[in-house]
């Protein structure tokens, strides 16, 4: 047994309890709020580090609480959960710093940070859910916690975006409820078990199992922004930059992708899913999403919108890796969960800096911004190149594994897909870099007036994450790198 069996709960509580405190703080108490924010984020990071160490040593954490007869609220800390928690803990700290800087003089900060904390709590809960029921609980909490963040600006556009977001995600949540119930009725349990719990059902009633798969993936696909459920994501980019960063990199879309992983690996079990013949369509759907997102990204002039469509495309790499049903591809998928988070959060924070510092919001205004904000743009460039998949950056590592996995699974088309996607990535990212570095700023363009004034709290986070992008790629084979941890997980999921 463990010396601190409640550790997962503590990790959850660090942000869950911070939330009401942050709500209650008066608007003026900025210092105290920042202290609480950063303190809690730091504590959480420490706890997560401890937890990872324990889990790596083979300690099993399993907390249960019966809600309805037989139906449990269950927290567990398996390696897969650790992967996601670690991501959220690290990025929470960074994003918190960034948010503090970003919203320094904005209204409703108490509300913002309260929901921000709640959002992270929900993400951690999603990561540690031990069954689909618990997952559903946190999944809905995430929806509710992010809604006020999306509409933080409180204007008509934000509210419209918020409404669309809410409708999509709550409808998705409802379908997930349906799926969870279906699982509960069919299998009698909703637990996540490596290898799945549905083998018997699949044998007896494959039709029902297929329907269940469709329902669950459809529900999770909303948050994972799989085509055709992606429409909310580009619209939701009206949110403040730290929120977009969080939405795209850590919380929402990742929750969807993570859920797909859990469903494929631990509800159905990869072998069962393959036998059911559902992985191939899923891979196809992911492929379509990858291409579609990239194609749409090309035409966007709004920087954040372009990044949003890029997210649509990139997150589906994860789904693709899962659906390819090959251990190597799975490594790629899991690694991409982390890598995409790092890359995308860098880009969104950089975009936020451009908007804050220079008022640059469109690609067409980006002429010469590289000279105006070299640090930010360097980070952006690094992330963009990683997205395209240049070695030795993080994006390359995941793409490499995905390609290898595709070959191993006998799906050579994946290579073409990845090449095509990389090409499209290049098409929409390189012009941005070209404008930023190789063009002169327009004399009376948005980027013209003098040196931008952004504080270190805005400047440092993207640079930090960019360095992480470099490190995650460059030291991919080092112990405790995301990739190594990923291999550990895949060994469990594939029961090797």
């Amino acid at each position: 047994m463990t010396d601190a069996p409640l550790l997962p709960l503590f990790i959850l509580l660090t942000s869950l309890l911070a939330s009401p405190v942050l709500f209650a703080l008066p608007e003026r108490a900025a210092r105290l709020r920042t202290a609480i924010n950063l303190g809690m984020a730091g504590v959480k990071l420490a706890l997560v580090a401890w937890l990872s160490l324990k889990v790596a040593q083979g300690v099993i954490y399993d907390l249960r609480f019966e809600v309805l007869p037989g139906l449990e609220f269950k927290l567990q800390a398996d390696p897969l959960a650790i992967l996601f928690i670690a991501l959220s803990a690290v990025l929470w700290l960074i994003t918190t710093v960034y948010s503090v800087g970003y919203l320094e003089h904005g209204p409703h900060r108490a509300r913002f940070f309260g929901f921000f904390s709640l959002c992270v709590a929900a993400t951690v809960g999603i990561a540690m859910s031990g069954n689909l029921f618990t997952f559903l609980l946190f999944y809905e909490l995430l929806t509710l916690a992010t809604y006020p963040l999306v509409i933080h600006r409180g204007n008509a556009e934000a509210l419209r975006a918020g409404r669309i977001y809410l409708i999509y995600t709550l409808a998705g949540g409802l379908v997930l409820l349906l799926g969870t119930l279906g699982l509960w009725v069919l299998a009698g349990t909703t637990d996540f078990v490596p290898g799945g719990v549905l083998a018997d059902v699949v044998a007896q009633n494959p039709r029902a199992a297929q329907a269940l798969f469709v329902v669950l993936i459809g529900a999770l696909g909303v948050k994972a922004a799989l085509v055709p459920f992606h429409a909310w994501l580009p619209i939701a980019m009206v949110a403040p930059a730290p929120v977009s960063a969080l939405l795209h990199a850590v919380a929402v879309v990742k929750a969807g992708a993570f859920g797909i992983m859990r469903v494929v690996y631990e509800v159905f079990g990869i072998e069962t899913a393959q036998a059911l013949g559902v992985t191939a369509p899923l891979a196809m759907l992911a492929a379509v999403t990858i291409l579609y997102g990239s194609l749409r990204a090309i035409t966007q002039d709004d920087i954040k919108k372009r990044l949003a469509y890029s997210t649509v495309s990139q997150v589906s790499y994860i789904t693709l890796g899962v659906a390819l049903a090959s251990p190597i591809a799975a490594v790629g998928a899991l690694a991409h969960l982390i890598h995409q988070g790092l890359m995308k959060i860098t880009m969104f924070m950089a975009a936020g800096n451009l908007a804050e510092g220079l008022g640059v919001k469109r690609v067409s205004q980006m002429d010469g911004v590289g000279r105006a904000m070299p640090g930010t743009m360097l980070a952006f460039t690094l992330a963009a190149l990683a997205m395209i998949g240049l070695p030795p950056l993080a994006g390359f590592v995941s793409k490499w594994y995905l390609a290898q996995g595709g070959l191993a699974a006998g799906q050579a088309w994946v290579i073409a897909l990845l090449l095509g996607s990389s090409l499209l990535n290049a098409i929409y990212f390189l012009p941005m870099l070209h404008r930023a570095w190789f063009r002169d700023a327009a004399p009376e363009g948005a980027g013209a007036p003098g040196r931008p004034r952004i504080g270190w709290m805005l400047a440092a986070p993207p640079v930090t994450t960019a360095v992480l992008v470099l490190v995650a790629g460059g030291f991919a084979n080092a112990p405790f790198s995301p990739l190594e941890w990923t291999r550990f997980i895949v060994a469990i999921e594939y029961q090797e």
Binding site: L295, R296, I298, T299, I427
Partner: protein, 579 residues
């Protein structure tokens, strides 16, 4: 066996060529040109095999004959000459240099048919030379600077080739102690001889690096000439190797290696060069070069491992026939395209052209893919070291050919070939269609024609579609790229996304309209319903209605129960917790 049929076979064209010099009979002779190969064809189709005849008296002893392989060559070559002749009749009708063309055409035909029938080294060489040199006139026909350059190049290579051929044949004959080709084939020829022969025939085949002459020449020659140059005459090089080299008897590992390597390079380098051409016929020429690379692969494999030759030979013959018909059709089709003046006609011809193009590219079940698959199978008996590479090369050659074909079709429209003067479209169209049909039907008639030699083809797999698809995709990619380059990347991106935007806007407007309508409906209908229900006091009615309904429902249910299962078990059994 009498010599006569043989003499008619290559004599008729020669006679016709001579007749053309006489002005009075020209019209009649032109009329007969399409039929010039008929005796040869008749001989090949009707005669019993093997067939031999000799005239010791002629030259240094003329040996003629026909065997399984040469018979097939005669058939498709003859067919091609027929079609080209028919086409030429119309193509040349108003040409001031028609006579010279006719003479050269017929002489080349004579040489071509003759070399297929020749059984001794010298006559073979002679016919070969006749054909080669006569073709010079065909290449040079329009006398333009470009044609002159092409012809100059051509003739240089012809000379080189003839020299090598001569030397090779000479060495070989010396070693064999006989001029008979059959003896040469049975002898262990010296390496030098083999090298020289390979170079000599290789020039004709257009194997790299001996290919330089071919595309310009094919591009410069008038359409009917190009068709035979590409379809029939370069096969002479192949035939020559088959006829002279001791394939299947002696192993020449080094030569085989070189030949295969050259073939492989040829396949892909021709692609790279071909796609850069701006003349559709030149592109077709490169395609021929590329195809001949495949032949070289087969020949090389045979040279390396004699045991495999028996399997390779029939496949190569089939491939030769396939290429002759398809490429001939394409060239003639180019002419037919040029002859069309309207858009619809051009479009129709283009569509028709896609048939031989697809055959050439190797769409499954077409002769192209059958041949390639059979070749893959046949190569299995060859060198195991080379086998995987050969397979990959063969598979990818489909991609290459597809790309070339795509480029060709694109060039047809971008740089339409010109006719020297107005031409009756029908006259050139019919031969083209005939050849296209023949190329499509080849897999069907081949078993009848080739009999035993057809079996590897029949047994082979039908091939995969994806190389063609990939090639097509790449081609479209390149086309898109070219388009983008032409109009500028920014404009291109906006063009590219225009359909998306249009689609999005359309969907958006429909959705907006729908949403508006739905909102109107969603507001109006409940409002109307609600206010009606209120003012009509329908709630009150509902009370009575519900009581009546419940009564009816329950009465019926109880009647049912009583009728069905007395004593009726009821839902919601009362608990035993009675107070």
């Amino acid at each position: 066996m009498s010599l006569f049929p043989f003499l008619t076979a290559f004599g008729l064209p020669m006679v016709l060529a001579l007749s053309l010099t006489v002005p009075q009979g020209r019209a009649l002779v032109w009329r007969m040109i399409p039929f010039a190969p008929l005796p040869a064809l008749a001989l090949a189709l009707l005669a019993e095999l093997p067939l031999n005849a000799q005239a010791d008296w002629l030259i240094l002893g003329l040996h003629l004959g026909l065997n399984d392989v040469s018979r097939l060559f005669v058939i498709f070559t003859g067919l091609l000459w027929c079609a080209a002749g028919a086409s030429a009749r119309h193509w040349m009708r108003d040409d001031p240099r028609a006579t010279s063309f006719g003479v050269m055409f017929l002489l080349a035909q004579t040489g071509n048919l003759g070399l297929l029938l020749a059984q001794d080294a010298l006559s073979f060489y002679a016919f070969f030379a006749l054909m080669s040199f006569a073709s010079y006139g065909l290449v040079l026909h329009n006398r333009e600077a470009q044609a002159q350059g092409a012809a100059r190049l051509y003739i240089s290579f012809v000379i080189l080739g003839e020299l090598a051929l001569f030397a090779g044949l000479a060495l070989g004959a010396a070693q064999a102690g006989s001029f008979l080709l059959a003896d040469l084939r049975g002898t262990e020829l010296p390496d030098m001889a083999v090298s020289l022969l390979i170079v000599g025939f290789g020039v004709k085949l257009g194997i790299m690096p001996l290919h330089f002459w071919l595309p310009p020449a094919h591009g410069a020659a008038p359409v009917p000439a190009s068709a035979v140059l590409s379809g029939a005459m370069i096969k002479a090089g192949l035939f020559g190797m088959m006829a002279v080299l001791p394939l299947g008897n002696v192993a020449y590992a080094d030569h085989g290696t070189v030949l295969m390597a050259a073939g492989m390079v040829t396949i892909f380098a021709a692609l790279l060069l071909g796609v850069q051409q701006s003349n559709p016929k030149a592109t077709l020429g490169y395609s021929s070069v590329s195809q001949m690379g495949i032949m070289a692969l087969g020949l090389g494999a045979g040279l390396m491992v004699p045991a495999a030759w028996a399997a390779i030979l029939p496949v190569l013959v089939f491939l030769a026939a396939h290429h002759a018909l398809a490429k001939g059709a394409l060239f003639l089709g180019t002419g037919a395209f040029a002859a069309q003046s309207g858009f619809a006609g051009k479009l129709a011809v283009t569509l028709a052209l896609l048939l031989p193009a697809c055959v050439l590219a190797g769409v499954p079940a077409s002769s192209g893919s059958l041949g390639k698959e059979a070749l893959k199978a046949a190569l299995a008996a060859g060198s195991s070291v080379w086998l995987p590479w050969l397979r990959v090369a063969l598979t990818l050659s489909g991609v290459a050919t597809t790309l070339l074909m795509a480029r060709y079709v694109a060039l047809l429209w971008l740089h339409p070939p010109k006719t020297p003067h107005p031409i009756t479209p029908e006259g050139v169209l019919l031969p083209f269609l005939a050849l296209a049909a023949a190329s499509l039907g080849l897999p069907l008639v081949w078993p009848l024609l080739a009999q035993t030699l057809a079996s590897p083809i029949l047994e082979g797999a039908s091939g995969a579609f994806w190389p063609v698809a990939l090639g097509g995709a790449l081609a479209s990619g390149v086309a898109v790229y070219a388009y983008a380059q032409r109009i500028g990347p920014a404009l291109f991106v906006s063009h590219l996304t225009a359909p998306f935007r249009a689609f999005g806007a359309r969907v958006g407007s429909i959705m907006t309209a729908r949403r508006r309508a739905a909102r109107r409906l969603g507001h109006a209908v409940p409002k109307a319903l609600g206010s009606t229900a209120t003012s009509w006091r329908l709630g009150q009615t509902a009370i009575a209605g519900l009581i009546a309904l419940t009564l009816t429902v329950e009465m019926r249910a109880s009647l049912h129960l009583e009728a069905a299962i007395p004593p009726a078990p009821q839902q919601g059994q009362p608990s035993s917790q009675a107070p």
